[in-house]
Amino acid sequence: MTADLTVIVPAYNEAGSVADTIRSLQAQTAPPREIIVVDDCSTDGTGGVARALGVTVVRPPTNTGSKAGAQSFGLRYVCTPFTAAIDADTVLAPDAIERLLPVFDRPRVAAACGLVLPRHVRSIWERGRYIEYLFAFTYYKQVQECYGKPLISSGCFSIYRTALLRAQQGWSDRTLAEDMDLTWRFYQAGHEVRFVPEAVCYPIEPHTFRLMGKQLRRWSHGFVQNVMLHWRGLLRVPFLRSAVAVAFWDATIAAALYLVLLPLLALAFKSPWVLLGYLIDAPVVLVPVLVGATRRREVLRALASVPAFFVLRTVNAVFFLRAVCAELVFGRSLHVYEKGH
């Protein structure tokens, strides 16, 4: 059964990974009607690799400068009622599209996304991200879904209703988190976004600190930019306004407390016991992680990766604090789209 769906794959110098992405799309239990690879003026033969696998390849006249730009360019060629966007380093579980499409039976659903897990879990950064995803997609995102307001329809793989996507004029590059921007625009326009945990995708996550830094820089600035852009509109969306406020608090005040206050208190009280504060939330993290890992029969892998999560969390806090200072205090908005993963 072919899905009435076009997949847009934005790709800039992805010759090493785009073939896996295309093959996973072609192997779907509900294969898409068309796969469009937007070769964003790559210099490594990405277009040739994609063309050899029999998909449509389009190329803008100049590099669009961002994933959003490439995706919006690809949207012009879509003729199906549903559009999927998938990163060129992401592969799908064979039934991902089939699992995701039924939620669009409700006409108000504008976008849907699935569970995200790193394809490789080897370096400390991939392990940290693995735990972060297990935690977020098993706990936070499921609660958001139950309240009808997933915070983001993930940029690495989501399906959209084409007409509503076009009504929002596609993806915008005004922020560095185009997926968050689009999701929040859908909510403000009165549409629904869904999360389907059974639809699984596997992106390649940053495996070095340099790549992770680029990604975290993009994400942290993108989050702050979106909060600044949408805060008035979000106040009208129940649950989402609370979830965003809590996320913003955790990205700013909690991050500052996490990095600065506990060591200062330890020094002030001259007692290392204060540093136990770092462990006090360990069960909050471990319980959902172990639940998610048990379902996937990956408990040992998860337990081995937990320490890496605490390292990544600290790095995360630094990047979010820097982004908040740059965007809110110094007015230095970051808009250069640096590709990491």
């Binding site: 006249p61 936070y140 009504a167 915008s172 809590v246 996320a247 006090i280 360990a282 639940v291 809110l328």
Partner: protein, 640 residues
């Protein structure tokens, strides 16, 4: 992506409470027959929340046991004394995060009520309109994907609409053109010409719509540099300077030598306050295109913002030589006068409620500006009297001002003051001076202002007789927050010395300022001032002064070029004298105004008025109930 710091902060508590509330929500929705997540998922999430609670409890218990067991080795913190450490830790963590979460959620709800306090019904209608618009677009999109016959009919209708719109546009009938282009877009939402023209027509009346349409045009025609330029201009008008610059960068990638792209980018930089970068862009363009009179004129205006009047005059001269223009000629004359040598005679006087009066007569001579530097020499004579005693001082000061770039200002002066013989003391010469550096991050960023000075207190004959010297170090830091308000902090330390003693004054002040318009700012301020000890030198030195004030700063320029500035403050103040408790709050008022009247090009009359009514105004106050007025008149006469 995952935002925040998962686990820490209040995110964990928020989702814990949300998960625990899910069964109630599910039951409610089931009863009302509304779509819901299903009991299986609700049960799973609730069980997970329960497990998290249990795990927190167990962790607290284990940590408590560990602390108790190792108490002999490492001393636990005082806050755990007398209680089971595990109980204290887990209870404190839960209570603290629950209270913080409640405060944040309450804050969000209050913000929502405040932001949408008067627009509730209208917003509901707005949401409906938006949904309707989306539905219309969906219908249009479906119609566009319809049968070949329908498409052919649409093509014909579109051509007719566009022809009518173009005719109206060419005839200058903006209303009809706007209506026809909108109708054309309803037939073909991806018609780029109609999108661009409609955006262009919407620029004045509906800038948000224009911005949206220009974005759409760029998506439809990504290889057209003019689209990026138009989008850049629309973004700059909306204050999104970073996005505007990126849009111009896109245009320059497509058309690197296009004048409108280069100059347009420089204009955005200038508008954003990146004056040095704008000057660099203009100069780069003018190096290759020296006959562009308009660009010379714009470069000159940026040079004036940099404080480089001579360079501005040279640029205006180039513009005027290429294309004579009366406006440019007038600006050239103003720039030449600003750069020229000048003399400024001045007269000023002060009077306070204790009967002290000063009268100062003098003048300043400036030599013509030399690149970013300017030098001047000031000489003055001041008479000081209190109805009984009369004395005086003479001052000679050499000053220099340096503007290395638009972001930096440095001023320095140094000289000497000769105090007349009085009350048995012979005439004395004392060195005085001042150094001030001001730095502003380009693009309305933070400001740092540092100042050091040494001068003589001369408000009363007694102060002059005691030769009280003031040596001050001060800093002001201003942080703009989210383009909504500014936080300003002021710190100053002053040493007041005379032949008998040295006293110290410390001032700390914080204020929140909200720019209401570009020329009006309101603020709330709090100051504390402390003196180290009492004095007999003749100035008022209380132990502590606290001032809370609301202030407003207003700046206007009339059509005739008259500049009016008012800085007004009204509030309360309380004073604690040395060794005494703090007194009651009393009234504190202040007013500063500046009026600059251009009499002719290069001749500016400047009037300043200053007044205070409060228990304590500054260290020259001699009693605890004090009023003070001062007036200064000067005339800058350029020798061009």
């Amino acid at each position: 992506m995952t935002v925040g710091v998962p686990g820490t902060g209040i995110g964990g508590m928020f989702y814990l409470v949300s998960a625990l509330a899910m069964p109630l929500r599910q039951a409610y929705r089931s009863l009302r027959r509304r779509p819901s997540a299903g009991w299986r998922i609700v049960a799973g999430q609730s069980a997970m929340a329960g497990a998290i609670l249990a795990a927190i409890w167990v962790t607290g218990w284990l940590v408590g046991i560990a602390i108790t067991a190792s108490a002999a080795i490492v001393r636990p913190p005082h806050l755990l004394a007398g209680a089971h450490p595990g109980n204290v830790l887990r209870t404190a963590a839960l209570v603290l995060s629950a209270a913080t979460l409640a405060a944040v959620l309450l804050g969000v709800e209050l913000l929502r009520l405040w932001v949408h306090r008067e627009t509730g019904p209208r917003l509901e209608r707005g949401a409906e309109i938006q949904i309707t618009r989306v539905a219309v677009l969906v219908v249009l999109a479906v119609a566009a994907d319809g049968t070949h016959t329908v498409a052919a009919q649409n093509t014909s209708a579109l051509a007719r609409r566009l022809a009518r719109a173009d005719s109206a546009f060419a005839a200058g009938d903006a209303t009809s053109a706007e209506r026809e282009y909108a109708a054309a877009l309803a037939v073909d939402p991806e018609n780029s010409r109609a999108t661009y023209r409609l955006a262009d027509l919407s620029k004045r009346g509906d800038p948000a719509r224009a911005l949206q349409l220009f974005r759409r045009y760029v998506a439809l025609e990504p290889s057209d540099p003019w689209g990026y330029m138009a989008l850049g201009d629309a973004l700059a008008r909306s204050g999104s300077y970073g996005d505007a610059l990126r849009s111009y960068d896109d245009a320059l990638r497509l058309a690197p030598d296009e004048r409108d792209a280069v100059i347009g980018r420089a204009r955005v930089l200038a508008r954003a306050g990146h004056t040095d970068a704008a000057v660099a862009d203009y100069r780069h363009w003018l190096d290759a295109n020296p006959s562009d009179a308009e660009a010379w004129g714009e470069l000159a205006r940026q040079r004036l913002r940099q404080g480089r009047e001579r360079d501005a005059a040279l640029a205006f001269e180039r513009a005027q030589a290429i294309a004579p223009d009366p406006t440019v000629a007038r600006r050239l004359a103003v720039a030449r006068a600003a750069a020229a040598a000048a003399i400024t005679p001045l007269a000023s006087g002060t009077h306070d409620s204790d009967g002290n009066t000063t009268l100062r007569l003098g003048g300043t001579g400036e030599i013509a500006s030399w690149g970013p530097m300017r030098f001047g020499l000031t000489a003055s004579r001041t008479a000081i009297e209190d109805g009984v005693t009369t004395t005086g001082r003479q001052d000679l000061t050499l000053g220099a001002a340096w503007r290395p770039g638009a972001a930096w200002q440095v001023q320095a002066s140094g000289g000497a003051s000769r105090l007349d013989a009085v009350a048995g003391r012979s005439a004395t010469i004392l060195p005085t001076g001042q150094l001030r550096a001001r730095w502003r991050v380009p693009g309305a960023g933070p400001i740092v202002d540092l100042r050091a000075r040494r001068d003589i207190l001369d408000a009363t004959p007694l102060l002059a007789a005691n030769r009280v010297l003031r040596t001050e170090l001060g800093a002001t830091v201003e942080l703009p927050v989210a383009r909504v308000f500014k936080l300003r902090g002021i710190g100053r330390t002053v040493a007041l010395s005379d032949s008998a003693e040295v006293n110290h004054r410390t001032t700390l002040a914080g204020m929140v300022a909200v720019p209401v318009t570009p020329s009006v700012e309101v603020s709330a301020q709090f100051h504390t001032i402390r003196f180290a000890h009492p004095t007999t030198a003749g100035y008022f030195a209380p132990r502590l002064v606290q001032v809370a004030q609301a202030g407003s700063y207003l700046e206007f320029e009339t059509a005739q070029g008259i500049l009016l500035v008012f800085d007004i403050g009204a509030g309360v103040q309380r004073v604690a004298e040395q060794g005494a408790t703090i007194g009651p709050w009393g009234r504190a008022l202040r007013l500063y105004s500046l009026i600059v009247v251009p009499l002719a090009v290069g001749r500016d009359l400047r009037l300043e008025f200053d007044g205070e009514q409060s228990a304590f105004a500054n260290e020259v106050a001699t009693t605890a109930q004090w009023r003070y007025v001062s007036a200064t008149m000067s005339l800058r006469w350029a020798l061009d």
